[in-house]
Symmetry: C2
Subunit: 423 residues, 2 copies
């Protein structure tokens, strides 16, 4: 770091993180700032206010993505975008989304502090409803941006209180009159997102920077095993058609093979219920969901086939019938080679150890990668814990992440962030 | 059957079954006549009306058990009781409870038809809330009767709509002013209950009569396996503390051993749920219930110990903690030898093949056996199906059951139901 002529303002970044953590703060030290809520609007308003103070322009689009623009000398060029999201889980942490958004804003302020002139514009973006906890699905803002329209079926989306998504968006847009409305979707020069890892690899290996080369593919399955409800006390074994027995047998075999045999696979049963759910009745129906992830599309299909085959044979063996439905399917994403290479150079210049990694979670970068060169940078979070009020990032890691963002953006834009111009 | 001088009126019994099946009839051909509901009151009123027509006396007690009394020559003797219950499951069948109650009433009418004089009184009883589906717990009326009081904690019992048990009892009592109120609990000479088997053994073996020698013991366990909720996509195998993995492993071993190794055991997981129950989250908590039954108290304890040991080891192996709680414990019940012997003689006199059996389900007889000599008679139901709108009993089996009840009662009371006085 000895040769650097321009550095981000780490203390300012940490202050900003504290200021935003106060919006929707929970007693347990976390954040409840669900998408398009009052608290989310407060965070958007604060970011817009800070932006206007610094002379940046502020835009919203019809899905309420929020953009802070710093013009370049060629303002007709597509912007390079950096950012993340400001919404949180109901019992979320202070860093998930906020770190990437505020570090991006710190990059913009640092450019401004030092009057760095860029060719094209640089924009900070806070994508709407990344979490998907209030309105389903998540990564909503980046998805709509990448499609240049909102899917028709979103007209019917409501939260648990019955509030329509469309109304919540309209109110959120109206709450920020200082922001100019612009069309949904536009050409983007590139996108780089800083995020906490939400997994324990970096912390465990003592590496401060993860350069993310892609996002693993995900499939969601809904599985229904139908047997026959019957009296727990009177029904002998050979008259039982118990879906719990069938599911238990299949799951036991799957848990023993999928992840132990393939360290890149992730296999999770997240939802599980039975009917009639009565203590003295053999259930007639069992439902469960499977979240399956893998960086390799071929392996995803192989494992999915194994899951269905094992459930079929165990259902058959127990006199049950099986229904499976694939409800979600996102192919593995590979990030842009040029941004990955520039991130590696940035880390070397900054003297920050790094490793390559695949993102296990979805991020807005997943959808933006479909329309522009995209990559991500991860920093460690304590115990890999996220979506939890105890989520925590060491200040030095937040600052290193923001430095990586600044340094990579400068490298990509060919700006003299360092004493010597970059080649 | 050639020597019998008195027979029950089978056609009348079948008409009564139809008449009562109409009270709370469901579209699918079943019955919804939950305890202390309007429909239950209609059934009680109809039975009381029929009783009064025949000159019997009608009583209720403070838990709304309904008694139809036919006096003997020594009216100070404790009554011999026969009966069952009139309440049903929400989607119940036409025979569960109703058959035993109406066959008992048929016995009383037959005694009356033929002016049979008995020494002591004979009473038909319809116990309140056997099913326990609207108000928990079930076998409520017979339990309170056997204790001669209602447990204090019942003051707080409400149904799902918030109706207090006490209010529902009071309204039910008030709806039948023709019935005299008497104290809860009294000396009983003996109790015999006819019921459908609710299991497939008799039908499968082609045997029309089961003479029930006892009720298997039951233990209910609540099991909580606590792990750590975490992100399904990002958490590697060695960081998972997944309670579904722990429970699946234990259950798979238990399903493979308990019932296959011991044909008398019944092992059922009836309730099963996880938290947070989100498709992309590893659950942090799994809850399940176990219903364990066995005719042998020692085996019950051995199997319970095996269950807890396997859950402990699988929880430990998966970084989870275990809580288990025994929420219900009813020791195996052995019915009265003298009533069982008399039932065997009755079956032989009637030329009805029979087998001995243990009841897998609870019945009111379980509690009454604690205060008086008690036994039960089972008849087959189609496919062993019960607690189901498709529950069905062949007319000949209903009639055979009522004959067994009449014949056994007459035998026990030493009455000349046959051409020759019984010894």
């Amino acid at each position: 770091m000895t040769t650097r002529s321009i550095d981000i303002n780490g203390a300012r970044l940490l202050r900003r993180l504290d200021a935003f953590a106060a919006l929707g703060a929970t007693r347990a030290g976390g954040v409840n700032r669900q998408a398009l809520s009052i608290e989310d609007r407060q965070a958007r308003a604060l970011l817009a206010e800070l932006a206007i103070e610094r002379g940046f322009r502020v835009y919203q689009d019809p899905v309420a993505n929020l953009f802070i623009r710093r013009d370049g000398t060629h303002d007709d060029l597509p912007p390079f975008m950096i950012g993340s999201h400001l919404d949180s889980q109901p019992t979320g942490g202070r860093f998930d989304g906020a770190l990437g958004t505020l570090a991006a804003f710190e990059v913009l302020e640092t450019l401004q502090d030092h009057a760095v002139v860029t060719d094209g514009p640089v924009e900070v973006v806070a994508w709407t409803n990344e979490e998907g906890s209030r309105f389903v699905p998540g990564v909503m803002g980046s998805m709509a941006f990448s499609l240049s329209h909102m899917p028709d079926v979103w007209k019917d989306i409501r939260d648990a209180q019955g509030t329509k998504l469309q109304d919540a968006i309209a109110e959120t847009l109206a709450a920020l009159p200082a922001a100019e409305l612009r069309a949904l979707g536009m050409p983007v020069a590139g996108y780089l997102e800083l995020h906490i890892e939400q997994a324990p690899t970096l912390e465990r290996e003592g590496v401060p920077i993860g350069i993310v080369t892609g996002v693993q593919g995900t499939r969601w399955l809904e599985i229904r095993v139908t047997g026959q409800a019957a009296h727990a006390g009177t029904t002998p074994l050979d008259h039982r058609r118990d879906p719990v027995v069938a599911a238990t047998s299949a799951l036991n075999a799957l848990y023993a093979s999928i992840m132990p045999d393939d360290p890149e696979a992730r296999f999770t049963v997240g939802r599980l219920s039975v009917e009639p759910d009565s203590i003295n009745a053999i259930p007639g129906l069992l439902r469960l969901t499977i979240d399956l992830r893998h960086p390799d599309a071929k392996r995803l299909s192989e494992i999915e086939a194994l899951i269905i085959a094992l459930f079929q044979s165990s259902s058959h063996a127990n006199g049950c019938t099986l229904d499976t439905r694939r409800t979600f399917d996102v192919a593995p994403t590979i990030f842009a080679e040029n941004i990955i290479r520039e991130s590696e150079r940035a880390a070397r210049r900054l003297g920050l150890p790094f490793r390559h990694m695949i993102s296990g979670a979805f991020h807005d970068a997943l959808y933006i990668s479909r329309i522009a060169p995209t990559a991500m940078i991860f920093v460690p979070c304590r115990d890999g814990l996220s979506h939890n009020e105890d989520e925590y990032v060491e200040p030095e890691h937040s600052i290193s992440g923001a430095r990586m963002l600044f340094e990579t953006v400068c490298g990509l834009l060919g700006q003299p962030a360092f004493g010597l111009p970059l080649v």
